[in-house]
């Protein structure tokens, strides 16, 4: 089944490879990392993974009793694959977003282009 508009975001995310992103999942977990790749289902692969709000989910944080005092530089999980269907948001740095370009592209898409 082809969903209109998904191809647009697939292309958009492909251009963002290499950037730092924060993926917020539908179970409220937020994972930060470097965007390694994306596919047609908007599945996301991240590198140098770390969890936002480590106090609540310390098992994904560096296994060190001092982690409450020092920011974690590494995780038990370094690289991960996130299924597209569980992503709620992909948060990007504002400099990483060309709003004009996206606006034009989505307008074209909505028109049926």
């Amino acid at each position: 089944m082809v969903i209109p508009g998904v191809q647009l975001f697939f292309s958009y995310f492909k251009d963002l490879v290499g950037r730092e992103v924060t993926v917020e999942l539908k179970n409220d977990l937020a994972i930060r990392g470097t965007l390694h790749s994306v596919d047609q289902y908007l599945n996301i692969k991240l590198e140098n993974t770390r969890v936002v709000d480590q106090d609540k989910y310390p098992h994904m944080v560096k296994p060190n009793s001092f982690f409450y005092f020092f920011p974690p530089s590494r995780l038990s999980v370094r690289n991960c694959f996130i299924r597209g269907s569980v992503v709620r948001y992909v948060q990007l740095p504002p400099e990483g977003v060309d709003v004009e370009l996206l606006h034009d592209a989505t307008r074209r898409e909505a028109r049926g282009g």
Partner: protein, 72 residues
């Protein structure tokens, strides 16, 4: 566990698998499950474990909130 295979629907084959049950009150409980085929619908994240770092974890001392269920 060890990822033995997968497909486009993200169905996976996981060998030598164990489940880690986290709690805020007591240490991590590990349940050995063995060879599993997991339907892709149920998968949120597949994380690559760094064995070196994972070995350093003292699961009996670890306290954590279990993850919330996914709501679509």
């Amino acid at each position: 566990g060890v990822l033995r295979g997968f497909d486009q629907a993200t169905n996976i084959i996981l060998d030598e698998s164990h489940e880690r049950v986290y709690s805020t009150k007591e240490g991590v409980q590990q349940l050995v499950l063995g060879l599993y085929i997991i339907r892709g619908d149920n998968i949120s994240i597949v994380g690559e474990i760094d064995e070196e770092l994972d070995e350093k974890l003292d699961l009996s001392k670890l306290r954590a909130h279990p993850l919330k269920p996914v709501i679509h």
